[in-house]
Symmetry: C2
Subunit: 415 residues, 2 copies
């Protein structure tokens, strides 16, 4: 029931806030480096908290550093409607991935507050901690631990490259926001909707501002170690070497062959490939690889992923190979309820929309196991994301924000 | 003229000092991480300086941080005889590479001092700064700049990964040894002899303690950058990617083919291979490679090295490739004088010896362009070097040290 009383968002405010927050972790090349709970990421949480407390929103923090901003509804005992995304980025990330979903949800709350309308259910804007998994692996653990798909203790003990733990980082977040409440994991939601840039080229190419997401692609993620023996580059003959680089390249060749599909639907990426010790005159004794494998078909991802270890062991002629599956997620298909509300909202405002499938993972994947969920995509320039050149147009950010605000309002006033 | 008066070295002292200095930068796996002019490396210079000043040796330092310890001869105006090597290691280096040549030379001076014998020419033990080139590239610049094969200014401006300059590091070295003199570059030497572990398997396999080095293999060293475009691992299809990892692996495949020789005499190593930004869900936009290419035949190294750029550009299908030749050195063949003195010394002590060729580069390469030069190799376990497991036997260290001491004494008393 998107009705005449659904408030209008402030398009200038939400764009201005994107530009302002893009300064937190800004890179010389116009991108953003704001990995999880670095001082810049904590500052995003703190600034929004400051605005929220001035507005009279309730703010709370759970034990994994997820942050919740609530506009209380007229029936505050009903499970609330939530919307949100993440504030962390990849090390060479952009100005919209994640933060758009946070700021769109927060703008929804502000628009309702400005218009003086109070929905039936409470509405919440959420920052899910550590969606990118760049500083602390694995990814999407904020929503996962909230809904019970992951255990807290090992995540708190996770360390970054400098040896700092996630637990210490969360303590720093809490210290930066001393006046906020505590939130339990798993508190029920009526529904969840997440806004995000598409990170693909379809909406821009078709000139459509609103993507109604039907589901999220599954993935298997592996850490591979190739263990050989260091030797002197000038003296040790090829026949005497156990060169980890040579075997790692043979493994990559084999995987490229196995994962090649004519239809170009398999997403196979080696995002990290690093030889150690990394000195010119030393034959590498160790190579570390990170493998990311995705396809919409769960059975195919399972089958291909199972081929990785035997293929790697067969390809490595002289080195030992270790494969650790660090993350596995199934393809999720959203139910009817939230996508229907998104479509109602888009049509009520006259925005063109289309169904679209998400190749990237999002927190909405975990939320869908907790409550009816859905996502709104907006176009981004050239489909480029996880890249400092990532870009989006103010009018698309405004349209997506309006649809998120209206969808929250619709769901909060509905059954 | 290795004669009866050549003093006996103190085998216990020189071994004890190896073990003591191996603590400076000791790694948990029994190796040494003591890259150039880190506090541990500076401490090596400082401790030897302390002993030298107590002994009454003259100590001086040049503008690149090379350190000279001199026992003055009876004819101090004659060009001195020098011996030495380097105190820096690879990041995962061992307890003998480099430091053996320094401590053998220093023990030669101490043995002469203990015996109260004074050679005709002065004799010097030298620490050539930054032979490994691990913290500051390129390698072997200490001897190079001393003999005029490299320019000082750009080397002083060189930075490590943390942004510290070589110039600042040398200032820290100087500050740690305030009481030493200043040495000009290029002061003439009568001759130079360097002791080193073989870093290959031949002497150990044949049970021969002394290798008389005939020459040093040339090398060409390249830095390669493969420049593509970052993209999201879950959304960007293979056909739309400019994946720097994919093209870098194609380049490595092509180079393995081009540089493959049945005789196994070409030494082709990729010591560094690193994808950026190095996150699992980001298609790499950049890969950096370091290539090391060696062969005893200068013409063949020239020919093979010239194939690298065109081969890399042909192999890269979608990315830009940049190749920078960071270092090039010719194969050096030592003259008669120093090897003959080494052989006289070995035979006078009854040590078995053989001629041997050096696959690795050493400071003696640059010294040979300045004065008659040579090298003494001793066996190391399994030929393993540039590796924390690097090892050598006390009796071989003692034999090599005795031959260095005797050779210095022989050359210093000769014509």
């Amino acid at each position: 029931m998107s009705d005449a009383s659904a408030p209008k968002i402030d398009a200038d405010r939400v764009w201005r806030r994107h530009m302002e927050y893009a300064e937190l972790g800004a890179t010389p090349r116009g991108g953003v480096n704001r990995t999880t709970l670095t001082p810049d990421d904590i500052e995003v949480h703190r600034r929004l908290t400051e605005v929220a407390l001035e507005r009279g929103f309730e703010v709370s923090l759970d034990d994994y550093g997820n942050t919740f901003y609530r506009l209380v509804g007229t029936e505050p005992n009903l499970p609330p409607v939530a919307s949100g995304s993440h504030s962390d980025t990849q090390p060479t990330g952009g100005r919209f991935d994640g933060i758009f979903g946070v700021l769109a949800a927060f703008e929804g709350l502000e628009a309702m507050a400005d218009a003086g309308v109070q929905p039936r259910r409470s509405v919440e804007a959420v920052i899910w901690n550590n969606e990118e998994g760049a500083r602390f692996t694995p990814s999407s653990m904020g929503s996962a631990v909230y809904v019970g798909n992951a255990e807290l203790a090992p995540l708190l003990a996770g360390v970054d490259r400098a040896g700092e733990t996630m637990g210490d980082s969360i303590a720093a977040l809490r210290a930066a926001m001393p006046d906020v409440g505590h939130r339990e994991f798993g508190a029920p939601y009526h529904s969840f909707v997440e806004a995000h840039i598409e990170q693909g080229p379809i909406l821009e190419a078709e000139g459509i501002p609103i993507g109604v997401v039907t589901g999220i692609q599954g993935a298997r993620k592996f850490a591979v170690e190739v263990i050989g023996e260091e030797a002197h580059a000038g003296t040790m003959p090829r026949s005497g070497r156990r060169d980890a680089l040579v075997d790692a390249v043979a493994i990559v060749n084999s995987l490229h062959e196995i994962f090649h599909d004519e239809a170009d639907e398999v997403r196979f990426t080696i995002g990290r490939f690093e030889a150690f010790p990394g000195a010119r005159s030393v034959v590498p004794g160790l190579v570390k690889l990170l493998v990311d494998l995705r396809h919409p078909d769960n059975d195919l991802v399972a089958e291909l992923g199972d081929k990785l270890l035997p293929a790697a062991q067969a390809a490595a002629k002289r080195c030992e190979v270790r494969v650790d599956e660090s993350n596995r997620s199934e393809t999720v298909v959203f139910g009817e309820q939230v996508p229907a509300a998104i479509i109602r909202s888009a049509e009520a405002r006259g925005y063109a929309w289309r169904h679209i499938f998400s190749g990237a993972g999002h927190d909405a994947r975990h939320m869908d196991s907790h409550c009816p969920s859905g996502m709104v995509f907006v176009p981004c320039e050239g489909g480029i994301s996880h890249n400092e050149a990532e870009n989006a147009r103010p009018e698309d950010i405004a349209a997506g924000t309006q649809v998120i605000s209206d969808t929250m309002f619709d769901l909060a006033n509905g059954e």
